[in-house]
Point group: C2
Chain length 343, copies 2
């Protein structure tokens, strides 16, 4: 592919002039500019961003690492991030850590080697280490944590107010008259899941309903585990709860599957509310009442936070810790003992 030197020869000007025309940083007289631009067209010149980056020490590229691109929740965040990045003239590289912390560290180092100017991280979760290692390196591009906020470190983050979101979902069930509300969580090693559980507790307490341990079902992201736990809970001798609240989409999908597998119908036999959307859009009949996280916004805001840090050049100012609210979308699955809606 053509280089600026070749353009310079063809246009009969110096290499410096070509560079000035291309980068647009220095003004070049009309005649020379035209000569260069026609050479650009003639040779179908594309600037070599590699060389440019080497010289300028800027890549206008952001990196993003997510735990699993095949979970619908993440592509939506990616969309938001990509959109914000593009608006500000940046390029976004997305990598998938496959829930694996070691791999995540590799990807972060790869991004650093690629000299990205900032990193958006949805941590692989699980171990404490998982959240702390990347930040603790202490140099390299700034990191913004999405969705999952590290405990110890002071860092920029964009997340959802999990406690309030869960409280909202559970309060909705209380308002519908339910008092026997079970909760099925994801892994409680994740702070998000702990917070959602706290929101559940808080909602019950505010509603004057006793919290019963037998209705708290700690789950995981393993689909089989969730099905087993729900199965046991739904068929327990003491009678099944009148409502079930799931704290994330993966768990929610399996919980709903378990409800059906147990021969139950929602909302006829049990009311159901879940975090996140279970399909790309409202498809289920009956529709599922959901606590929706602002996925697009999470990505979008995170990029804004990151770029402000990068461009404003105040690397040590206090971190932005943004919490976004979730919304409750009420659909049929939480109607109180209404007949099934599918004709």
């Amino acid at each position: 592919m053509a280089t600026q030197k070749e353009l310079a020869k063809l246009a009969g000007v110096s290499a410096g002039t070509v560079s000035n025309v291309i980068s647009g940083s220095v003004r070049v007289s009309k005649g020379y500019r035209e000569k260069v631009l026609s050479a650009v067209r003639a040779l179908n010149y594309q600037p070599n961003l590699i060389a440019r980056s080497l010289k300028t020490n800027r890549t206008r590229t952001l990196g993003m690492v997510v735990p699993d691109i095949t979970i619908p929740f993440f592509p939506k965040i990616v969309r938001g991030a990509e959109s914000a990045a593009r608006e500000r003239g940046y390029f976004l590289i997305v990598l998938d850590s496959e829930h694996n912390h070691a791999r995540e560290v590799d990807m972060m180092n790869l991004l650093r080697s690629q000299r990205v100017e900032g990193i958006l991280l949805v941590a692989a979760g699980g171990s404490k280490e998982a959240l702390e290692t990347p930040g603790s390196v202490g140099y390299g591009p700034p990191i913004v944590y999405l969705d999952r906020v590290p405990r110890g470190i002071e860092a920029d983050s964009v997340s959802v107010d999990d406690r309030k979101a869960a409280e909202m979902g559970v309060s909705h069930l209380l308002a519908r008259g339910h008092t026997e509300i079970a909760i099925i969580t994801g892994p409680l090693t994740l702070k998000n899941e702990q917070e959602r559980l706290r929101g559940y507790r808080q909602a019950l307490q505010r509603g004057g309903v006793p919290v019963r341990d037998s209705l708290i079902w700690p789950g995981s992201f393993n689909r089989d585990d969730v099905v087993r736990i729900c199965h046991r809970g739904l068929l327990r001798p003491a009678g099944r709860p009148s409502a079930l609240f799931a704290t994330n989409g993966v768990t929610g999908l399996e919980a709903l599957r378990s409800i059906y597998a147990a021969g139950l119908e929602t909302p006829r036999d049990i009311a159901f509310v879940t975090f996140d959307e279970l399909t790309t859009d409202d498809f289920f009949q009956p529709g599922i009442t959901s606590v929706l996280q602002p996925t697009f916004d999470i990505g979008h805001r995170a990029v804004e936070v990151l770029l402000n840090r990068i461009e404003k050049g105040r690397p040590n100012r206090t971190p932005d810790k943004i919490r976004l609210p979730a919304t409750l979308v009420v659909r049929e699955s939480s109607d109180l003992r209404s007949p099934k809606t599918r004709p």
Copy 2:
């Protein structure tokens, strides 16, 4: 961040020696190597891939452009591609064209500027131009077309045998005794969709069942359109078909929604078969009989084809045109007039 020059100073050796240790291409005596490596650790050195690429003219990076990362079909292909890339020591950058051809061209140019060594393209589709432009540029990194194969150009491609896949789905319905089989397609500007329609025709002909135009419903990727078309078809005076075949996941989801909206139940009132999975896994009750494309393999094979072209360095050999078979997964939605399965 540290550079090789700084390492050299710290280790008391020349820059060339440091480079030899890092790249491992030239053997360095043990003593010197140790000195360099301890400097690497001391300064937490990360090689600058930008500089390396500029010199070596290699990036070990592949680019991938998909029309819409939020459609579940694509992340699955991305996973396969990413996995194959990683196996061979390459890095994959994924971009989203948002079904927009102009944007797609931008992304391709961006990838070229980034000096990716090859591009995996799921074309934005629609116009003929959409498929031909990128290839017609005639220089730059090799391109492998995935899923959607360009008409005019001789190029590497990995796709599914759409005709056979559709034939398989329709034959299944015929074997179940259906003769009134309607088909709802995506936009027939896409060759894939045309082929799937041909597969439908072929299956009917082989089965000795007349092809009736009134049962061919050309659709689009617009959800409202699909709902409207299905609604009209399902409620038409001549009576509704006994089975419906959808040629892709997007259309299939809307078609199923329409069936429910019309107050029908599957398979009780109408049998239903679709291309692709409608949710991340088999969730629906009753389960939906589906023609599944080997998504992971499409991505995986595409990277292999691409890397063979890149590494084998035979840029002009005849193109690889790989066609993978789909599989039919039979579930309840195509049972013949069985009672509804959900209790």
